[in-house]
């Protein structure tokens, strides 16, 4: 019994979305399926050697079977994130020619995170969730809800540019993604928080506030890693905002 369980488990690696994946191996249904031709142990193991390394837990619950609120408030290892992000930066660095390109790549990585994250956050707000229509509303959603969901703290400041009507600034005194990163002197314009800027950009774009977001280092005595996220809205956003006021 033990053996056939592991065999069918191995076998299931190739059919991750088949109806049996959600059922436990010891249920009658799975036993019925186990009577179907299963590869012998040797072929199974040789196959699993060449198969993808995707793994499923013993209960065969994938991430899609879990409740979306399950990870709400959960914390992840910062070290594993730091290593993953470090590899992302190195990978991107090998494929670009300049610092601007590198920031663009990191921004694009963040963008795909932001698109998915927005959907999750709005879903989690439940009945109180709504579509933001005003600039201030969406920026507060970003500095509070979004920042708390990812970094477990609100952003340190939200400011409006005095010189430019379309520019807003969010500051973070110590961006989480930059904790362990020291940028070499010859690349000092680079700020890896471009990834974070990408997340903000995606959220704004997806909420119909098209904007460009860039990350800039503004170190000071107490906060050597202080970063300002400069948000530049497109004209349509300003036009709509003006209509709201009038």
């Amino acid at each position: 019994m033990e053996r056939s369980n592991t065999d069918s488990f191995r076998h299931s690696q190739y059919l991750p979305f088949s109806p049996t994946t959600s059922s436990h191996p010891s249920t009658p249904l799975a036993q019925k399926h186990a009577s179907l031709p299963i590869p012998t142990p040797t072929t199974a193991s040789s196959l699993s050697g060449s198969a993808s390394t995707l793994r499923y837990s013993q209960s065969r619950k994938t991430i899609y079977d879990r409740h979306l609120n399950r990870s709400k408030g959960a914390e992840l290892s910062k070290a594993s994130f730091a290593f993953l992000f470090g590899e992302m930066v190195q990978y991107a660095q090998k494929r670009v020619s300049g610092i601007q390109d590198l920031e663009k790549k990191l921004n694009a990585h963040g963008y795909s995170v932001g698109q998915r994250l927005l959907e999750l956050l709005v879903w989690r707000e439940g009945r109180s969730g709504k579509r933001e229509t005003r600039v201030l509303g969406i920026l507060q959603f970003i500095t509070n809800t979004l920042w708390r969901a990812i970094y477990n703290k609100p952003a340190d400041a939200l400011e409006k540019s005095r010189d430019h009507e379309d520019e807003y600034m969010i500051s973070d005194n110590d961006p989480m993604v930059n904790t362990y990163i020291s940028v070499p002197k010859e690349m000092n314009q680079l700020n890896c928080a471009a990834f974070q800027a990408g997340i903000i950009e995606a959220v704004l774009d997806s909420c119909m506030f098209p904007a460009r977001v860039t990350a800039h280092s503004v170190p000071n005595e107490t906060w050597p890693g202080k970063t300002v996220f400069l948000i530049k809205f497109e004209q349509v956003v300003l036009d709509r905002e003006a209509e709201f006021i009038s």
């Binding site: 070290a79 470090g86 362990y180 990163i181 940028v183």
Partner: protein, 140 residues
């Protein structure tokens, strides 16, 4: 009083050097490289010299750990990967091993997790310098 920190890569090359006190004359940068290389060799010899080696049924010696003189104490901490941390302190400095472990921790965080650091190469990580100084300063 903590005097100086040296970090050696596994080939015996000096990858980091920092003095915490200005009271002593400094060596030239070439002399520091020689010092690191010499220590690497001596360390390898001491590991072999130990009478309680594998041949007598014991565990292999980890080599030279502490050297004490009237004026200073030198403690060596070797990581599992062969990187060596050398800390020079005054002879009466307490808890040197604790300090070395903390420095190793800072190294693991701010050097090894930095995507711009190339392994086995000289350490130029501003965040590591900053956190190291913040840790050592209050102890002086």
């Amino acid at each position: 009083m903590i005097l100086s920190l040296l970090i050696l890569n596994k080939a015996g090359g000096l990858v980091y050097h920092r003095d915490f006190s200005n009271t002593f004359t400094k060596l030239s940068s070439n002399d520091y490289l020689v010092l690191a290389g010499t220590f690497h060799g001596v360390h390898a010899i001491t590991a072999r010299l130990s009478p309680f080696g594998p041949s007598s049924g014991g565990t292999p010696s980890s080599g030279l750990e502490v050297m004490e003189s009237e004026h200073f104490r030198m403690q060596c901490f070797q990581t599992l990967t062969g990187t060596k941390f050398l800390l020079f302190t005054e002879p009466q400095q307490p808890n040197v091993d604790v300090i070395l472990r903390r420095i190793y921790e800072l190294y693991a965080d701010y050097v090894m997790k930095n995507p711009f650091y190339q392994i086995e190469m000289p350490i130029r990580c501003e965040a590591f310098d900053r956190h190291l100084m913040a840790y050592i300063k209050p102890k002086q």
